[in-house]
């Protein structure tokens, strides 16, 4: 058993979790980010390209060779073995529908230097079960991605508690989970959890315009109507839906994190709030 003297530790020598804060240890939690007097859109993301930020597209796969996607860091397809262990095999099939390619294309357009990876949670016959969705999310969190774009949800209530734990786990591991709100008035997850950034659609054409919603559970609105996107087969389409608003917010998160990599998900969400078009970021 590890000998831990929890009551007489030296903050500089023993890296214990910050479950309490002795008065002589305040320096230990000094923030690495210098916060300006006023958080502006300019401070948050001007000049940012997404460089250094790893974005995961948890979806139908991504067509890596599509010119509007421009390559992937990695691509895996998720399955579950007989013991319900997650298996992540290299994905050689690409995108089984086009939806994941569309999401990746939006991220590439707005955060061109971000690294994009694909975690496919749908089979080629679309039989993506809730278990595979959970397995894929668990895998993505374990990989330590900075941003996980989840333009998917499940309506299966038995999966809700596990999804909730995974969302909280991502939150504390500095992985930002950006989840699409359902377009219809149904109970689905994980977008309803407060540890994720939930996204609905607005009709503005500015891809960097986003709004804070003071009436949750949907917390932010991103561009989600009449969006031109790449699709499987090297093509482009004009699409609408919260599925496509979500990667807009994922991209904005990637931009902010590339400029301010120290931000925790809580801080990032605070920056989003302060720079939303209807709060302090309107022009």
């Amino acid at each position: 058993m590890q000998d831990v003297t929890a009551h007489s530790w030296d903050a500089g020598k023993v890296a214990l979790p910050a479950w309490s804060l002795p008065k002589d240890a305040v320096d230990r939690i000094a923030l690495p980010t210098h916060w300006p007097e006023r958080v502006t859109r300019e401070w948050a993301l001007d000049g940012a390209t997404g460089k250094g930020v790893r974005v995961c597209i948890l979806d139908s796969g991504v067509e890596a060779t599509h010119p509007l996607v421009g390559g992937l860091e990695s691509a895996v397809v998720i399955s579950m073995d007989d013991d319900d262990e997650v298996i992540a095999d290299e994905d050689t099939e690409g995108d089984v529908s086009g939806h994941g390619t569309a999401c990746a294309g939006i991220v590439r357009r707005l955060a061109p230097e971000a690294s994009i990876s694909s975690v496919r949670v749908l089979g080629s016959n679309f039989r993506g079960s809730g278990a595979v969705l959970l397995g894929g999310l668990r895998y993505a969190i374990d990989q330590g991605f900075d941003v996980i774009n989840m333009s998917l949800s499940t309506t299966k209530k038995p999966f809700a508690s596990v999804l909730h734990e995974l969302a909280d786990s991502a939150y504390f591991r500095r992985t930002v989970l950006v989840a699409s709100a359902h377009n219809m008035p149904v109970e689905s997850y994980p977008w309803r959890f407060s540890s994720v950034i939930s996204v609905g659609s607005h009709e503005e054409v500015d891809p960097l315009a986003f709004f804070y919603n003071p009436s949750p559970p949907v917390e932010f609105f991103g561009r989600g109507v009449n969006v031109e996107v790449p699709w499987a087969g090297g093509r482009t389409l004009n699409v609408s839906g919260n599925s496509f608003a979500t990667p807009h917010l994922s991209s904005i998160c990637a931009l902010i994190l590339s400029k301010h990599p120290e931000l925790t998900p809580f801080q990032l969400k605070s920056v989003l709030y302060l720079t939303a078009n209807n709060v302090g970021g309107g022009t």
């Binding site: 016959n125 309506t155 699709w231 482009t236």
Partner: protein
């Protein structure tokens, strides 16, 4: 063996309405959807969970003469995507994309320029897909239309749920044989009576129940 739920199903089969009436309701929903959106066609696809196929249960506009009852694998096409992800999807300029167009053609029998599709969600399951094909070309899609599509899909999901319950009741009735059928016939007969005759019918059933100790 006959158990209580089967008897209830038999009674339900007698009174909840026929398959034809629910199909007519689905037909009315797609007709209104097509009209409201000014679209060329609208359809409702129902998931057959046993065969993992999607079946056209209601079609109006393009394909209405040929598509009803036709099937295709639930794991393909746009409808398959919407069903699997339980997420509405709106796509335009479909004809610019041959692969996509062929997917849609597989679903519908013709190649539209654009489509809107929403899942029919009931409780935790997805029962099928509502599609609206080829809205007017000159209009850009709006969020209001997405909301409207969701409302139609909800209405269709309720109708489909009733249709499935009626089918299940009929199936149980068929398996139960004569014992159950007489219960269904009684329920149907009493349900169709009016005024004094209905009261008399109900009194008779109550006497019967009392005699049987029910």
């Amino acid at each position: 063996m006959t158990d209580q739920p089967d008897l209830r199903a038999a009674v339900a089969a007698g009174v909840v309405g026929s398959e034809e009436s629910f199909r007519a309701l689905l037909g009315a929903i797609v007709e209104v959807a097509r009209s409201i959106f000014g679209a060329k066609a609208s359809s409702i696809l129902l998931l057959d969970a046993e065969t993992e196929e999607l079946v056209f249960e209601a079609v109006v506009g393009e394909g209405e003469d040929t598509l009803l009852g036709t099937r295709f694998p639930a794991g393909t096409g746009i409808a398959g995507w919407v069903l699997a992800t339980r997420t509405p999807l709106v796509i335009e300029d479909v004809q610019n994309d041959p692969r996509f167009a062929s997917d849609v053609a597989e679903d519908t029998g013709y190649v539209p320029k654009g489509l809107m599709a929403a899942p029919l969600l009931h409780e935790e399951g997805a029962l099928g897909v509502l599609s609206v094909l080829d809205r007017p070309e000159q209009t850009l899609f709006s969020l209001q239309e997405m909301e409207l599509l969701g409302l139609f899909a909800n209405q269709a999901a309720i109708a489909v749920d009733l249709l499935l319950k009626a089918r299940e009741a009929e199936r149980l009735l068929g398996e139960g044989g004569g014992e159950l059928e007489v219960v269904a016939r009684l329920a149907t007969a009493v349900d169709a009576l009016e005024d004094e005759k209905r009261e008399a019918g109900l009194r008779l059933l109550n006497h019967l129940a009392k005699t049987l100790g029910a």
